[in-house]
């Protein structure tokens, strides 16, 4: 029995690209693939937002109003609902002047118990070095 660790590193802006939405969808889906694996193998997924990607974590996104599409917020909440590790780069938030209270940090309203974590890039780098598969989106 082995656990394969995946890290999805989201660098893309939330809209006018499907990159971040697909990253979250694949990260969520990765939590169900164990049923197709042998001998109790597991997959542990996590997500890190860096660079422009930190914009995905903003609360109160108005995607429907502006673009006529669903927002990334639902995907973010589902990721937390499934207890996945979600990291947001502190330095990049500082670069954009985004405060933590502007971010979607939990999914308590849908029963989530895990919070997103604002962390220095060094911690994300450490996570990158520890995983089996690294996927940049």
């Amino acid at each position: 029995m082995a656990t394969k660790k995946l890290l999805f590193v989201v660098r893309a802006l939330p809209y006018k690209t499907e990159a971040s939405r697909l990253a979250l969808t694949h990260a969520i889906s990765s939590q169900s693939v164990e049923i197709y694996l042998k001998d109790g193998d597991l997959v542990e997924g996590s997500v890190a937002f860096i660079g422009d990607g930190v914009m995905n974590c903003l609360k109160n996104q108005q995607a429907m109003k502006h673009y006529g599409i669903t927002s990334i917020e639902g995907h973010m909440k589902n990721t937390l609902l499934l207890d996945m590790k979600v990291m947001v780069c502190k330095e990049d938030l500082d670069k954009f002047g985004i405060k933590e209270d502007a971010l979607l940090m939990d999914a308590e309203d849908i029963g989530g118990e895990t919070n997103a974590q604002v962390v220095p890039y060094s911690e994300i780098q450490k996570e990158m070095e520890s995983v089996d598969h690294l996927l940049f989106c």
Partner: protein, 81 residues
């Protein structure tokens, strides 16, 4: 196999309206917290989850499962050993 559906479930998980993979991953999460011997009743209307992934998961883990097909949804009963 024990008759699970005739027993009072320890917990009911409503995943109606949710599609794959959510029924499975939320079921896994609920089972982690369920005490040993507890029965989880799952309300589900996603065919792929009710007919494939949930039974496959339970059978892979060796958990007893019963699937009851209703008109437009399913009730699944899984017992945590």
């Amino acid at each position: 196999m024990a008759d699970l559906k005739s027993q009072t479930p320890t917990q009911t998980l409503d995943v109606l309206g949710r599609v794959c993979p959510y029924p499975l991953v939320l079921t896994k999460k609920a089972l982690e917290k369920l005490p040993s011997g507890g029965i989880l009743k799952i309300l589900c209307d996603a065919p792929a989850s009710a007919e494939d992934s949930l039974p496959r998961f339970a059978e892979g883990k060796g958990y007893p499962i019963e699937v009851v097909k209703l008109a437009e949804s399913w009730e699944l009963y899984i017992q945590k050993p």
